[in-house]
């Protein structure tokens, strides 16, 4: 834990601005998002070059899937935020239920994604069909891998919440770990919103 995260209350010392979670996770999140940003940039480049072809291919994507994922992930992220805040005030049962909800939604995102891949492949659409679907499959699959790791992270977060002592305000170190898990999940959510706009919304 960084010295800047020592949120000791009432110690009479002017508190430094607190960095949520462990500072190291921000190294990971920012570098990871940079790589996605690179992919988004290349996608934009290709799309501008072959606008008609991309537009035609995009019309076969079902926007309802995209909307469903967005709602699922946003709700999941919101439940995780509520779970962390419940854990912080020591309401562990509530926190556990909320985390379980966030986790269930995360799993349903992955299952729905596989169903969508199944329908696409069933129609004979694969990553080598055209450039749009190359980007579609690769970017959403890389995101799905992030989400799968995220599901593991949420399982771990739930275990850490259950390991806290009930009824007391949680210690800074455990809360740091729990928040770190939450930040990873929000990153998955944030990346999805960009993917949704790029791949599912027709401009």
């Amino acid at each position: 834990m960084s010295a800047t995260t020592s949120g000791v209350k009432g110690d009479g010392v002017r508190r430094l601005r607190r960095i949520p979670a462990e500072p190291g996770i921000w190294v990971f999140a920012i570098l990871d998002m940079l790589i996605f940003a690179e992919m988004f940039g290349i996608y934009g480049w290709y799309r501008a070059d072959h606008y008609e072809a991309f537009h035609a291919a995009q019309s076969t994507v079902i926007p309802a899937f995209g909307l469903a994922y967005t709602v699922i992930l946003l709700t999941s992220s919101w439940l995780v935020v509520l779970a962390i805040s419940a854990a912080r005030r020591g309401a562990l049962d509530v926190a556990d239920k909320l985390a379980r909800g966030g986790l269930a939604l995360g799993v349903s995102f992955a299952v729905l994604k596989l169903i969508e891949y199944g329908t696409k492949l069933g129609q004979g659409i694969t990553p080598v069909t055209n450039d749009f679907f190359m980007f579609f499959f690769v970017m959403t699959f890389v995101h799905l891998l992030h989400a799968s790791v995220g599901i593991g992270v949420l399982v771990y977060m739930r275990r850490r919440i259950r390991a806290l002592s009930p009824g007391v305000s949680s210690d800074a170190k455990s809360m740091g770990v729990i928040e770190t898990c939450g930040i990873y999940w929000h990153m998955v959510d944030l990346l999805w919103i960009v993917l949704f706009a790029l791949l599912y919304l027709r401009g």
């Binding site: 834990m1 960084s2 462990e22 500072p23 190294v27 990971f28 080598v128 190359m134 690769v138 890389v142």
Partner: protein, 282 residues
């Protein structure tokens, strides 16, 4: 260690408490090992640069066109591959061993983790060697080989560079988890280097895409498939090696302080203050 001559005695290092450090040989090897990582980045990266093989040509290039180009830069390739062999094989070997040793010494002492780190590092060095050998063989015979055979050898260089990604991912993620474990004293490896390793390890996965596409950003010369894992791996070695070199004196001093605590509990107040309890800079 016996102090037979005054010169040897002079070479022995003094710690900040005035004690003689008996294993200055080990300290020097650790220092050289860290530097060999920096040397790897410069020599192996420079080797690929000097070979004229970068930027990589598209997998969908016509064999005749590719073979003619490779024939033009034959001697450049041979010299570049020589550098790749020095850097890719020798220095990656010394650096990966140093990393495994230092992870064990300063971060996590699990013997299994040490074993896996040594073996994955060895795998990385062998892959570097194979790139150099196949590249040399390709250039050596480029004037007499059928163009599609030359192209196959050319494919092999980049496939070797990219698609054996699983041990690399294991290497980097295991390093990351060892650094993030509670056992890590953080004197040598601050926690952010753990997250950095996990990030670099995750990006190795992009290499897997290269077998599916013949052009575009996901083919073996693509911006995503080639440059992302390639640059992140080189960046990982460079950043870790710089951390290893710069934090070595501090990490060793803290370790010496700890062992002296075991023997003489009241003797280490000065060294205690050297330990780095938080995520500080390099």
């Amino acid at each position: 260690m016996t102090r037979s001559t005054p010169n040897e005695a002079e070479e022995l290092e003094m710690t900040s408490t005035g004690r003689v450090d008996p294993d200055s040989y080990d300290r020097r090897l650790e220092w050289l090992g860290g530097w060999s990582g920096i040397a790897w980045v410069i020599i192996c990266g420079g080797g690929f640069g000097a070979s004229g093989l970068l930027p990589v040509w598209s997998p969908s290039t016509k064999p005749g066109e590719l073979a003619a180009h490779l024939s033009d830069i034959k001697y450049q390739i041979l010299i570049g591959m020589l550098l790749v062999l020095v850097g890719g094989l020798t220095f990656l070997l010394t650096w990966s061993l140093t990393l495994a040793y230092q992870i064990r010494k300063y971060a996590n002492s699990s013997p299994l983790a040490t074993g896996v780190l040594i073996l994955t590092g060895l795998t990385g060095a062998l892959i570097g060697m194979l790139c150099g050998v196949i590249g040399s063989a390709m250039a050596f015979r480029v004037d007499t080989l059928a163009p599609d055979t030359t192209q196959l050898l050319y494919d092999l260089i980049w496939f070797l560079f990219l698609i054996p990604w699983p041990p690399f991912m294991l290497w980097q993620t295991l390093t990351g988890f060892a650094i993030l474990s509670d056992a890590n004293k953080q004197t040598m490896f601050p926690r952010w280097t753990g997250y950095f390793s996990l990030w670099a390890g995750a990006l190795e996965l992009f290499s897997a895409l290269s077998v599916f596409f013949y052009n575009g950003p996901f083919s073996y010369n693509g911006l995503v498939t080639f440059w992302v894992p390639g640059v992140s791996f080189f960046a990982w070695v460079l950043v870790m090696a710089i951390v290893q070199v710069r934090r070595l004196p501090l990490a060793r001093a803290a370790l010496a302080g700890e062992s002296s605590t075991d023997q003489t509990p009241n003797d280490d107040t000065e060294l205690q203050s050297i330990r780095i309890p938080s995520v500080a800079g390099i």
